[in-house]
């Protein structure tokens, strides 16, 4: 009995001893974890995600988290669960977040992840100031892009990137630029729509996408696995315009003009007068269809993304 009392006394002393915790240290730890997750999310490695999760769980178990820290910790765990595709864990973290508040941006984001059918309306209905939270805007951009509302998606991405860490601007650029390229296009349901989702298409993919849209497209014979480059895109443009305008003269008009000069030389240093795509490149540059990236050179072998190709195809078909 005496031993039991002594044990109880010891336990009571342990419990009542002041607990040494630093609020600032928790903030520092959270910042570190968030930064590591931002590095990790673009090419996630399962083992590193698990390590992050364990560290986040240890913070979550701390008794002295303030409201902001609780939100950040459980959102971090939810973010990890999403990357690990662990829906059960996601739902659990959602419950924690709801307990802190149901109108916080982090809670709304996780709600949208769990309720895909209403995700867009959940994020669009976020009240101020939650609606200006950078991460919420990013998630909204993703949903808008998925709904082919690319112009609105860019608006959301741009607002998000102004507030998110630098890594998002570097890694999220492609996502944002895809919507930027597609902002004026209406590609729903067509072959072009499929092309838009390909980062760097091949000539064959490009041919398959535009064959329905382009008169006499077969004449180009693009059925190869070669990459789609700026030069190849320029060739398609000139071919399309010459066919559409029924003006074969356009096909070599530029080279004839240059060759008629006393000392004929290409005005674009990296596209020679003898190159098979010389006329196409000059046509596109002078008509302001494709720019000179450095002001002088065309960079003919630079690969073109699917969304850039779709944007250009639709513009050319509208203007000519």
């Amino acid at each position: 009995m005496k031993k039991a009392l002594a044990l109880l006394t010891l336990l009571a002393a342990c419990v009542s001893a002041p607990t040494e915790v630093s609020s600032d240290r928790i903030d520092d730890q959270l910042l570190g974890l968030e930064a590591r997750l931002d590095q990790e999310r673009w090419e996630p490695d399962p083992s590193r995600l698990q390590t992050l999760q364990a560290q986040a769980r240890s913070i979550a178990s701390s008794a002295l988290l303030n409201r902001d820290q609780r939100l950040r910790t459980h959102f971090l765990l939810a973010d990890l669960a999403k990357l690990q595709q662990d829906r059960q864990q996601l739902a659990e973290q959602h419950r924690f977040l709801l307990a802190v508040g149901n109108q916080h941006p982090q809670t709304l984001i996780v709600s949208s992840w769990l309720d895909a059918a209403n995700a867009l309306s959940i994020l669009q209905g976020a009240p101020p100031p939650a609606n200006s939270h950078p991460r919420l805007q990013w998630e909204l951009g993703l949903l808008l892009a998925k709904a082919n509302r690319h112009a609105e998606a860019v608006a959301a991405y741009d607002q998000a990137l102004a507030g998110l860490p630098e890594i998002w601007r570097q890694k999220g650029r492609l996502t944002r630029d895809t919507s930027w390229n597609l902002r004026h296009t209406n590609v729903t349901g067509s072959d072009l729509n499929r092309l838009a989702t390909i980062a760097l298409p091949t000539l064959n993919q490009f041919y398959l996408a535009v064959r329905e849209e382009t008169p006499n497209a077969t004449a180009l014979r693009f059925e190869t696995q070669e990459p789609l480059t700026r030069a190849r895109l320029a060739e398609w443009v000139l071919h399309y315009v010459a066919e559409k305008r029924n003006n074969p003269d356009l096909r070599n008009r530029q080279s004839r003009r240059i060759r008629s000069r006393p000392n004929p030389a290409s005005p674009i240093p990296d596209v020679s007068l003898e190159a098979p795509y010389f006329d196409a490149v000059l046509f596109c540059v002078e008509r302001d269809i494709l720019p000179l990236p450095d002001g002088r050179n065309f960079q003919p072998d630079t690969r073109v993304s699917g969304s850039e190709a779709v944007r250009l195809v639709q513009r050319v078909m509208k203007d000519f």
Binding site: P18, A155, P267
Partner: protein, 875 residues
């Protein structure tokens, strides 16, 4: 002869003496008759305003941004023209005029009309003769009236009549003859001032450098407390006089509004509160400097305050009684011992950035009583030994609050569940968030308190430490209740971001003071009512058109099939059909738009009046459509066709005339037009620029041979008083030609790739300057000689474009960078950002003064298809 001279001199002397004597008599009689303007101020008014200086009003106050807000108010539209004239008056520059205009005046508004009373002081010496001349004053539309023994003047302007009376040094002007007669009569009967019936009226008569307003107290209280029923309820226990004095002292950076009135308690509890002796609050040195808001209640002792609250809240009284009983039962201590004995009644509540959990601050009056109360709590179920922590060396306790605390906290609309507390230097800190308590105490230890915050030092220093109520606010974090309505006062107060509102009460005199300060950063604001949706998908530039200055609407092509005219002030949307729309061109001269042109892809051109009426001669079917956006050339429209590359002139009557020239290559950019001269650039490597007069005749020296590939058409630049032509290539070379088409060669070469058309700006000197933007985001200002003025790097993509508008009203256009995303940069000609975070928007901006503050606002459409209108601060 000598006699004649002698008599002449004597005569002159006598005449001089007579004149001097007359003048002396005149001056003495004038001095004796000097009056106080107060005697002519009507007794019963809706509003009385005293302005200490007419000159200061014209040169300083009317130029304040607060004045912009006041005069933008729609009911004051008639005064805006007067304000504009006063702002441009010579008073600001002429010291003599300024001295003459140092005249105080009163403005009174009554149910009969308004009355203006000027005290001219010594200046009236010069104008008194007008009274004697009476009806002989030769001013058109001015006539003298003699009525009831009083002489006054009537001035007619159209249907309006104004009445003017001169009384020695006082000039009275009214729009009501009866009102003028009444005040003249009252002024004659009561030589000294009217009743000194209230403190406010007395203070109104004292001199002050501020602008003073005698306002109706009940209306003012209603205005200030309409969002806060608790305050209204408490005020029912007090008697307030009919009138209160409001004093305004303001600059663009600082504002002080002071309200003085008297206060009497109607119930004993209210009188006890009024008479309670208040000590200086120590919270100024205990609230962290980073606090976003802070409320201080130091009205009276906690017991007196609770007693007063219970007068108006019977339900609260029942709760309170239950709490009293529960305290005795659960803690074995009386409520007085638990709560009232150790507190002084000084309660504070503040918020820290990034947290919604407030910190409550209470001064501990007596440490022994406090410890007794806490030990009673500790011995109960409310505080267990296991709820003690040490965070950053600061001891924290966690407790479940007894019901009585909840009742008190409800007054602050605060709910706490297991909050933390600590005591530091005689103050009790309580918060749901332990981190907030730790941050607060660390801030005190580091000396980072509100009174030591450099950005607030002035505001805090001037605030009375014996304030009964105090609110420190920063509208970036939250708008206080008294600024949430749309009244003019609230709108003016919202100009200033942070401030302290305080209430002091001494000898039954109540003083409410709001001191606020404005930071210049981030002062760009989205106008009320924006963003507003477009009526479809934007397919052209957005224009703001005004046919007559009063009506105004947004005009644009929507969904490539119609022109939308969307009323800005009135809710009216009209559409004009424009199937297969290609270009939309409003004809605007001197900011007034007279007609709209619409170009279709099938080469048809339509034209309408702004009311949508047809114009003779239109529509016109062209042989082929325009290659690029048409431009105005005088009253005609210049079009360059898309297939044959010809220049075609379309007259205002719909006649089409083709110029003789035909270009070999397409013209992708609109021709550059200035002073009847036209430059057209068919874009190709090493191409030519063609110069024409307004009749289409090619000018001597044309065509001009170019090198490289131009980014767009060349631009006209004013240099040494003449128009020169400048041409920017994709690789950053700038070529120039003089007024006679003589080549000045390559005048500059800037590194980078260029895609955006250059911008021509009116610089500080006589010459214009160029702004060019590289694809890498380097914005460069280039002088007309080709020298680099300054450059800045922007976060943009290669698709960014440049535009301009004078947005801060300094006479120099700002550079607007747009089209690279849903963000717009605005920079002045020092390349300083006017909106450092960028503005939401995507389309080429339109510029129009929508809010009536005499500065252009920037209007743009975002990628979310909403219209945004941004107003900018003055430089």
């Amino acid at each position: 002869m000598r006699k004649v001279v002698k008599y002449f001199i004597r005569g002159i002397f006598v005449i001089g003496l007579v004149v001097l004597t007359t003048l002396a008599v005149y001056v003495i009689s004038w001095a004796v008759q000097l009056q106080n303007a107060e005697r002519y101020v009507p007794e019963k008014t809706l509003l009385k305003l005293r302005i200490p200086s007419l000159g200061k009003l014209a040169t300083e106050w009317l130029n304040l941004e607060a004045a912009d807000i006041v005069f933008a108010y729609q009911n004051l539209g008639e005064l805006r023209a007067l304000v504009r004239d006063l702002r441009s008056a010579e008073l600001a520059t002429n010291p003599l005029l300024r001295h003459i205009a140092e005249v105080p005046f009163d403005f009174a508004l009554t149910r009969q009309g308004f009355l203006l009373g000027f005290d001219l002081g010594w200046r009236s010496l010069l104008i008194q003769p007008i009274n004697w001349l009476g009806g002989f004053v030769p001013i058109e539309n001015l006539s003298a009236v003699q009525s009831g023994g009083a002489l006054y003047f009537r001035y007619s302007a159209g249907d309006s009549h104004f009445f003017l009376a001169l009384r020695t040094n006082i000039v009275l002007i009214s729009d009501s003859e009866k009102l003028l007669m009444d005040v003249l009569k009252a002024g004659n009967q009561t030589p000294s001032s009217s009743t000194a019936r209230s403190r406010a009226s007395t203070m109104f008569r004292q001199s002050s450098s501020g602008l003073r307003l005698l306002a109706d107290t009940p209306a003012l209280i209603q205005l200030v407390t309409q969002q806060n029923p608790d305050v209204s309820r408490i005020l029912k226990n007090f008697d307030l006089p009919e009138e209160s004095l409001l004093t305004f002292d303001l600059t663009n950076q600082n504002l002080k509004v002071h309200l003085a009135t008297a206060l009497q308690g109607t119930v004993p509890q209210a009188r006890a509160v009024i008479e309670y002796p208040i000590e200086n609050s120590g919270q100024f040195s205990r609230v962290p400097g980073t606090a976003t808001t802070w409320s201080l209640v130091n009205v009276a002792g906690l017991q007196e305050l609770v007693d007063l609250l219970l007068v108006q809240e019977p339900s609260l009284a029942q709760d309170f009684q239950r709490a009293r009983e529960a305290t005795n039962l659960l803690l074995g201590i009386s409520l007085e011992d638990l709560l009232f004995k150790w507190t002084t009644g000084e309660l504070g509540l503040f918020l820290l950035p990034g947290s919604d959990d407030p910190v409550i601050l209470v001064k501990v009056k007596n440490q022994t009583d406090f410890e007794r109360a806490m030990s009673a709590l500790e011995g109960s179920l409310f505080l267990s030994q296991s709820s003690r922590f040490l965070v950053d060396q600061i001891p924290l306790n966690q407790l479940r609050l007894p019901p009585v605390f909840e009742i008190l906290l409800r007054l602050f609309k605060v709910e706490l569940e297991l909050p933390y507390y600590t005591v530091h230097e005689g103050y009790f800190y309580l918060s749901q968030d332990s981190g907030n308590i730790v941050r607060s105490i660390n801030a005190i230890l580091e000396g980072n308190t509100l009174e030591k915050n450099p950005g607030l030092a002035d505001l805090v220093q001037e605030t009375d430490r014996k304030s009964r109520l105090l609110l420190y606010y920063n509208i970036r974090h939250g708008i206080p209740f008294f600024m949430r309505d749309q009244s003019l006062l609230s709108r003016v107060l919202r100009l200033y971001q942070k401030g302290i509102a305080s209430i002091t009460l001494q000898d039954r005199n109540l003083d409410i003071t709001i001191r606020s300060h404005r930071d210049r950063d981030n002062a760009t604001v989205l106008l009320p009512g924006f963003p507003r949706p477009l009526q479809g998908q934007l397919s052209s530039r957005l224009h703001v058109l005004s046919p007559d200055g009063a009506r105004r609407f947004f005009a644009y092509v929507a969904d490539e099939n119609r022109i939308v005219l969307d009323g800005i002030l009135e809710e009216s949307v009209r559409t004009l059909p424009l199937p297969q729309a290609k270009y939309f061109l409003p004809l605007t001269t001197n900011r007034t738009t007279s007609r709209l042109y619409g170009f279709q892809r099938n080469a048809q051109v339509s034209a309408w009046t702004l009311d949508g009426g047809a114009i003779d001669g239109f529509p016109v079917a062209l042989e082929e459509g325009p290659q690029t956006e048409p431009v105005m050339l005088g009253n005609d429209v210049l079009i360059v066709t898309e297939r044959s590359h010809r220049a075609v002139l379309l007259s205002s009557r719909g006649n089409v005339a083709s110029w003789a020239v035909q270009f070999e290559d397409p013209v992708s950019y609109p021709p550059a037009v200035r002073d009847g001269r036209v430059a057209i650039y068919p874009r190709r490597f090493d191409g030519d620029i063609y110069l024409f007069d307004s009749q289409g005749k090619e000018m001597p020296g044309s065509p001009l041979a170019t090198e490289g590939l131009g980014v767009a058409s060349p631009v006209w630049v004013r240099y040494q008083g003449q128009n020169h032509l400048y041409f920017l290539t994709t690789e950053g070379r700038i070529f120039a030609w003089g007024p006679g088409a003589e080549s000045r060669g390559q005048i500059a070469w800037f590194s980078g790739a260029y895609q955006a058309p250059p911008l021509v700006l009116k610089g500080r000197g006589n010459d214009e300057v160029l702004a060019i933007l590289s694809r890498e985001g380097i914005l460069t200002l280039v002088s007309a000689e080709g020298g680099l003025i300054r450059e800045s790097r922007l976060e943009v993509s290669g698709e960014a474009k440049l535009a301009q508008g004078d947005l801060d009203g300094d006479g120099l256009n700002e550079i607007v960078v747009y089209g690279f995303g849903n963000r717009i940069w605005v920079l002045d000609q020092n390349l300083r950002h006017l909106a450092p975070q960028g503005l939401q928007g995507y389309s080429e901006p339109a510029y129009f003064d929508l809010n009536g503050d005499r500065r252009l606002d920037l209007i743009t459409v975002g990628l979310d298809q909403q219209i945004y209108a941004w107003a900018f601060p003055r430089p």
